[in-house]
């Protein structure tokens, strides 16, 4: 299969959906004429023009709210937050208007909207620019949250998100944009991946490493080391979707290995992994041979220093160490 970059996989998803449905609009700061701060929307303004690819002022609450309002009239906006970290200035629109209007109207209104952008640490941009809010948004019923780790997942999940009739928040990653991976050719047919389906990225029998986003890559690297250096066979489950969540897959892998380490770039207090641990202990209580352990970002705002930030984040070394504690 051809290999393309995560960034280009997303770009292809947008291009195809712009083609498929004339109500799809891309919107955000610098997405049009500038081609996107991270070039994810490259060429789309030139191809699709002012109506379909729209630059906005630096007014996240205003333009995201506008997108939600337009979605109520059947427009399908795909809104870029240049960084997901900037959710903080648009939080009300994100957790009240998008998440609750269907409920408060007794089902009369729905908001088929996608919010997207990168959400990750590791690029030395400091505390305010390095939030990982997937767990935060998944806490709000009414919202859906996906976190693709590979180019194929990025394309497939983005296309499903755009077609979904509920608000879907897609968390990309600046450190994955340049990664290459196999993605089916468009000529092979419409390629989508359903929200809510986890993916076993590596089979194993001794321990389950459960992760999402870039942490999946750390888990895979750790699994190799565990195999080679410690003869431990680790299964790696990529959640892909945080809400809906593939609880079945989570329970199955734990029932198989009886041990789990959760790898999660969230901060530890109420990270996504807190919820996963809670579910596992409830639904696989009798299968656990050891407490569930977690590798999260060290509990402090994101440090800037390029010499040290990678140590604050989950990384393969920290995953290996944690596994060795319980196997």
């Amino acid at each position: 299969m051809r290999e393309i970059e995560y960034r280009d996989a997303l770009n292809e998803a947008f291009d195809e959906e712009l083609e498929r449905d004339s109500s799809v609009v891309l919107m955000g700061e610098e997405v049009a004429q500038y081609n996107g701060a991270y070039k994810v929307t490259k060429g789309l303004w030139e191809k699709w023009g002012d109506k379909r690819v729209v630059d906005t002022p630096i007014s996240e609450a205003g333009f995201i709210g506008m997108g939600i309002g337009a979605s109520m009239l059947g427009v399908r906006p795909v809104m870029e937050l240049m960084f997901w970290s900037f959710h903080s200035v648009a939080f009300d629109q994100l957790v009240n208007n998008a998440a609750c209007v269907r409920y408060m109207s007794g089902g009369l209104i729905n908001c088929p909207i996608v919010m997207r952008g990168p959400a990750n640490g590791g690029t030395n941009v400091g505390a305010t620019h390095s939030h990982c809010p997937e767990g935060l948004f998944a806490a709000f019923p009414g919202l859906k949250v996906v976190v693709p780790a590979t180019p194929a997942d990025a394309k497939g999940l983005m296309k499903s998100a755009i077609r979904d009739n509920d608000p879907v928040y897609v968390m990309e990653n600046t450190l994955l944009y340049g990664n290459k991976g196999p993605v089916p050719e468009p000529s092979e047919g419409d390629f989508t991946i359903p929200l809510g389906k986890a993916d076993i990225k590596r089979e194993g029998s001794d321990i389950s490493l459960i992760a999402h986003g870039r942490s999946v890559l750390h888990a895979l690297e750790a699994a190799e080391t565990l195999q080679k250096e410690h003869n431990i066979s680790a299964e790696v489950l990529d959640l892909r979707s945080i809400r809906p969540l593939d609880q079945e897959a989570i329970i199955q892998t734990v029932q198989k290995t009886n041990r789990a380490v959760l790898v999660d770039e969230s901060k530890p207090f109420n990270g996504v992994s807190s919820q996963i641990a809670t579910l596992i202990q409830e639904h696989a209580f009798d299968y656990l041979d050891a407490p569930i352990k977690r590798v999260c970002t060290i509990d402090a705002p994101a440090i800037y220093s390029p010499h040290i930030e990678d140590e604050q984040l989950p990384n393969p070394r920290r995953v290996v160490e944690k596994v060795l504690e319980i196997v």
Binding site: A61, M66, G67, G69, M72, G142, P244
Partner: protein, 372 residues
């Protein structure tokens, strides 16, 4: 500084385009075209809102409803005039003080009253309550509780109208206190920059809860004038006068529909009751005399009634009949609400996701709800 800033301080400022000395708004074409029956309908709508709230208040006080009840009494002319001008591609959205707008766009008293009662027959099936009435089939998008939060949605409706290639507009309402929310500012800039067909309306009743306009906002002559910051058209309207309301609203709506340009309108009005029924201070931050003066001299319902009688369109007796009918309709709505079933515990989990409500393929993948 006790009492500083109390009370209403209304400047009669001259607005940019329409406040011409001696202008009689009844002469404007949009009012000339009104039939007698239509004029009486306007009266009926205002009266229905008034009586709906009379009954709501009664049963709220009797413990039949939960949460807040923000009454619109005194402001009925505004929603009524706006709704009377709406065409197929015009949309409305407002804040939590939404009963008047809801009835004005044509929602039924039954579904509205049942919503207040928290019943399954309510317009939002008992999920929204007083602040959250909706009727998308009537181009009416609610009813929103977070101050200012609906204004971005409102310009989004304008965006949608324009995107879909329709000649229409959105009417987005907020109060005088709401103008100081950041989202309002962001929306105004975007509306002007993107040339959206948006009419942004400040219903200025002089107070945000217990805070007078002067204590919450810094401004030059009036709040609508802030539109100049975005090089946007604006106007100020005496909300007591249906003719003035319709004339000036029409100008702004036509600007939106024909030129795709936004306008900010400030409509001076007054609320008779407290901020919500729970507002025990209603008579502390404003004088009883001020309240009485507005009731006696500035009641938009009575002023319109007088005008219609003077025009020979309505008699006092006919007016009374309309009042009685409205009261009867509202009372019947209360009975309807009272006898309706409440939502069930299972209903709590509905209307969260479109996909799960519609039991689609997508909704069958993964866990959507996390109840133990």
């Amino acid at each position: 500084m006790a009492g500083s800033g109390y009370g209403l301080d209304r400047l009669m400022i001259s607005s940019p385009e329409t406040n011409v000395e001696g202008l009689d708004f009844s002469d404007s074409p949009i009012n000339q075209s009104l039939s007698d029956a239509e004029k009486i309908e306007l009266y009926r709508t205002m009266m229905r809102i008034r009586r709906f709230e009379t009954i709501s208040l009664k049963f709220y006080n009797a413990g039949k409803m939960g949460g807040f009840l923000h009454l619109y009494t005194g402001q009925e002319s505004i929603a009524t005039s706006c709704a009377s001008l709406m065409g197929d591609h015009d949309h409305m959205i407002t804040a939590y003080r939404c009963h008047g707008h809801s009835l004005a766009v044509g929602m039924g008293m039954n579904e509205c009253m049942a919503e207040l009662y928290g019943k399954a027959t309510g317009c939002s099936q008992g999920k929204g309550g007083s602040m959250h009435f909706f009727a998308p089939d009537k181009n009416y998008w609610g009813g929103h509780g977070i101050v200012g939060g609906q204004i971005p949605l409102g310009i989004g409706l304008a965006y949608g109208v324009k995107y879909n290639g329709n000649q229409g507009c959105s009417l987005s309402f907020m109060g005088d206190g709401a103008v100081n929310q950041g989202s309002v500012h962001e929306s105004m800039n975007i509306a002007a920059l993107f040339e959206l067909p948006a009419v942004i309306i400040i219903e200025n009743n002089g107070y945000s809860m217990g805070t007078s306009q002067k204590r919450s906002s810094a401004y030059r002559d009036c709040l609508a004038q802030r539109a100049e910051a975005y090089d946007m058209a604006w106007d100020i309207i005496n909300g007591e006068d249906i003719y003035e309301l319709r004339a000036k609203l029409h100008i702004a709506m036509e600007r939106a529909r024909k030129e795709s340009l936004p306008t900010v309108l400030e409509i001076q009005t007054y609320r008779w009751y407290g901020h919500s029924v729970a507002d025990a201070n209603a008579k502390k931050y404003r004088t009883p005399e001020e309240i009485q003066k507005y009731k006696d001299e500035h009641d938009p319902l009575i002023l319109w009634e007088k005008k219609l009688i003077a025009e020979g369109i309505l008699t006092a007796e006919e007016a009374k009949v309309i009042g009685k009918e409205a009261m009867a309709e509202a009372s019947a709505a209360a009975e309807f609400a009272e006898s309706s079933p409440p939502p069930s515990i299972e209903d709590i989990s509905k209307h969260v996701y479109w996909e799960t409500d519609n039991d689609t393929e997508a909704s069958k993948v993964g866990r959507h709800f996390f109840n133990d």
